[in-house]
């Protein structure tokens, strides 16, 4: 009796075709893994569950490196960090229902910041879709407005095509997240027919424009040749197009000053003499005055986000606007544009570089900007001699790493101070959540970045509050011995919220102080990660130097001045030329 059962079971397990010596038949899950391999996927961040059991079984038999995060949100932010520094799509797998809904924040974040992700979710069997089955969530419906595109696989034969299209869509044009929902029965179905894997991608509704229009380039050249006060605003589009070298060459050749959006940092060396610092709400006085006074604003790969523009009716009022963007829908969306150029940033810059543009004398303009820089530099007032001021901590990190580390941040004051005081030497080293401003992003993003660049130093500068949203991923540092350095700028509060309450709500600190925090050093130790605590500026020098240069994962709880505010600032509703907090005192 027993024997017969075992025999039966074995027969069921044997691949059908193998007896006749033909290629063993695959199920949908195996076909799916094979399709991933054809896309050269080297790493997957994921979390299993019922609906993806067939996929995880196929992964077991035909492995692709898989990182088991401790929360799906950790997995997807890691995939975003990976995508940001490697330029390749980040790949995520999660189960149906709660696994899928835990991804929603990360998908939205990637959509807002144009990061290429391919996200696979399990789904209940097609036979019960729509019946509120156990762990069913309409993830295709839920993610429709937060994906570049999404699919539900309805037929096993479609798996290779859909996987191929998903990677193509995510990583071309304006990059973004694509979700593929795979019902469990489809993953289990035995695949009968042969598919033509080499069939070319056929997406008649998707043909991104890469090359700039000749006439528009001519117009841009004419405008540059006529401009006495030109300015380049460089955004993340430069980084997505790998065009930092072209940007720098163009700026130098034409002697045009450059400012960055938050996400565009690193597109030009932070210490370049033409660089004015970041623009926008917490940008430098000089950058914002440059935007307000320029006669030509050349926006390359930035989307005129409201945190950059301030009050739109006061934005760059004296300027003719050239807007280069790969997404035509961004052009004219917020700021009326004189010369629209739909193109990949690199292609557009190459086209501009082909011409020698006779530029007028811009000496006065450069003099004015130099005066601004000298008169209104970034400032803070380290009144208490022993206390660590958060800006000092970032300056130290910059000095110790020579501006060459990969830096990820969370969201809040520490993010703005990092953007202001860490001068990036190189491109693709800056990982932050800009459009969505997602707390909990910074630390897992550092994990993904470290997997992408094992040789590089990765430092995650986070707030004490935001870190606690995804701190469970500490487990991965130990498990994979990832030498990520976590620096918590610990002000025992939701610093950015507190700052707004101080400035706009008469210091009514409603739910923004966190007097009781965990012992972060012990927390690190509980996960087998070395922990340090910094209380004084003297300790900061010493410990940061030691810890940041070590080869191990470390967590540093850096206690900083609690009531510090980010300066300068464009208050909500104000124009860029109405900054407050521009000078000490």
């Amino acid at each position: 009796m027993m024997n017969a059962q075992v025999q039966l079971k074995n027969r069921a397990l044997a691949p059908k075709g193998s007896e006749e010596g033909t290629k063993p038949k695959q199920n949908g899950a195996a076909l799916f893994i094979e399709s991933l391999k054809k896309q050269n996927v080297e790493i997957i961040f994921g979390y299993p569950g019922g609906a993806v059991l067939p996929i995880y079984d196929a992964l077991y038999q035909n492995p692709v490196k898989h990182i088991l995060a401790r929360h799906e949100q950790g997995a997807i932010h890691a995939a975003e960090g990976y995508a940001r520094v490697s330029g390749k799509p980040g790949v995520v797998i999660a189960t149906s229902g709660p696994g899928a809904t835990n991804l929603v924040t990360g998908i939205t974040d990637a959509m807002m910041d144009s990061l290429p992700l391919v996200v696979f979710t399990g789904q209940v069997a097609t036979t019960v879709v729509g019946t509120d089955a156990f762990q069913e969530a309409d993830i295709v419906g839920i993610t429709q407005p937060i994906t570049k595109h999404n699919y539900q696989v309805k037929n096993i034969n479609d798996i290779p095509r859909i996987v191929k299209e998903a990677f193509h869509i995510a990583s071309t044009g304006r990059k973004g997240p694509v979700l593929v929902d795979i019902p469990k029965d489809i993953a289990n179905t035995i695949f009968e027919s042969e598919v033509d894997d080499d069939a070319p991608i056929n997406l008649p509704g998707y043909q991104p424009t890469l090359h700039p229009n000749f006439l528009q380039i001519q117009k841009a050249i004419k405008a540059i040749a006529e401009s006495k006060q030109p300015l380049i605003l460089a955004g993340a589009g430069i980084l997505a197009a790998d065009a930092s070298a072209e940007l720098t060459e163009f700026a130098e050749k034409q002697n045009i000053p450059v400012t960055n959006t938050l996400l565009g940092l690193g597109s030009i060396n932070g210490e370049h003499e033409l660089f004015l610092g970041m623009a926008g709400m917490h940008g430098t006085f000089t950058s914002n005055m440059a935007i307000s006074n320029c006669d030509l604003l050349i926006n390359i790969g930035a989307r005129f986000d409201d945190r950059l523009t301030g009050n739109l009716s006061k934005f760059a009022q004296k300027a003719k606007i050239i807007h280069i963007d790969i997404d035509p829908a961004e052009i004219g969306k917020n700021v009326p544009t004189d010369i629209p150029i739909v193109a990949d940033a690199k292609e557009a810059l190459k086209a501009l570089l082909k011409h020698s543009i006779e530029a007028p004398d811009t000496k006065l303009w450069h003099e004015y900007l130099s005066e601004c820089l000298a008169e209104y530099p970034l400032w803070y007032d380290a009144k208490e001699p022993d206390t660590v001021y958060p800006q000092q901590a970032v300056e130290l990190i910059h000095r110790i790493t020579n501006g060459e580390a990969i830096i990820t941040t969370d969201v809040g004051q520490h993010q703005m101070w990092t953007a202001q005081y860490y001068k990036f030497k190189n491109e693709h080293n800056w990982v932050t959540s800009g459009g969505l401003g997602t707390m909990g992003f910074g630390f897992p993003a550092a994990i993904g970045a470290q997997f992408a660049k094992p040789e590089q130093r990765v430092i995650s500068i986070v707030g004490d509050a935001g870190f606690q949203m995804t701190s469970q991923e500490l487990a991965l540092l130990k498990e994979f011995n990832l030498p990520v350095k976590i620096v918590i700028l610990n002000n025992s509060c939701l610093g950015m919220v507190r700052q707004w309450q101080e400035t706009f709500y008469e210091e009514r600190y409603s739910s923004s102080l966190m007097p009781v925090q965990p012992d972060f050093v012990k927390l690190a130790e509980a996960y087998g990660v070395k922990g340090y605590r910094i209380n004084t500026i003297h300790e900061a020098e010493e410990i940061l130097t030691e810890a940041l240069l070590s080869d191990e994962p470390v967590l540093i709880d850096c206690r900083v001045k609690q009531l510090e505010v980010v300066n300068p600032m464009v208050a909500p509703g104000k124009g860029l030329d109405e900054m407050i907090g521009v000078k000490k005192g």
Binding site: Q144, H149, Q152, G205, D327, A329
Partner: protein, 171 residues
């Protein structure tokens, strides 16, 4: 202002949802929407009437729609020479003694009777939306029991030249 937009889409499940979801997210006001197959088997066409504040808004709408992967073509055909049609079904209280009178109103609109009961008659009217509005206004006093409209579908005419006097007679 009112604009007529046609959207050619790949006939995928969820594409209608994508398009209407997008209009909602971007806060566009849809007055009517119709969808149907075209001469090509996998291609459907949608026709929208939307209200927008200015040119800029409509440009955004066209661009955002064009960005959708399943959208092949978006046209704002408002300013072209176009044919617009809508169908309405109207159930009217029409006791036998009033039927002649009601029919005399229906006739110039080339409406047809598609169902008849003891005291009610259902008419079908086809035309541009203004024609249907006019018919409804005239028939209202007799008592409308039920009314349903399909929303408009539209076509660009072949001849885009300004119609001469003679041609317009042919129309």
């Amino acid at each position: 202002m009112k604009r007529v937009i046609t959207v050619t889409v790949i006939n995928q499940s969820g594409v209608l949802n994508r398009v209407t979801g997008l209009l909602m997210k971007r806060q566009f006001n849809i007055e009517s929407i119709t969808v149907g197959h075209t001469e090509q088997p996998d291609i459907s066409k949608m026709t929208f009437i939307v209200h927008v504040e200015d040119e800029n808004k409509i440009e955004q709408l066209v661009k955002q729609l064009s960005k959708q992967i399943d959208v092949i073509k978006v046209n704002d055909i408002t300013d072209k020479s176009i044919v617009i049609r809508e169908l309405a079904l109207i159930k009217i209280v029409a006791p036998p003694n009033l039927r002649m009178e009601i029919n005399s109103i229906v006739e110039p609109f080339r409406g047809s009777i598609i169902d008849m009961g003891k005291n009610v008659v259902t008419y079908q009217i086809v035309g541009n939306p203004e024609k249907i509005d006019a018919f409804i206004e005239l028939i209202q006093p007799y008592g409308i029991k039920e009314l349903t409209r399909t929303g408009v579908t539209a076509f660009v005419r072949d001849a885009q030249v300004k119609p001469t006097a003679q041609l317009s007679i042919l129309q």
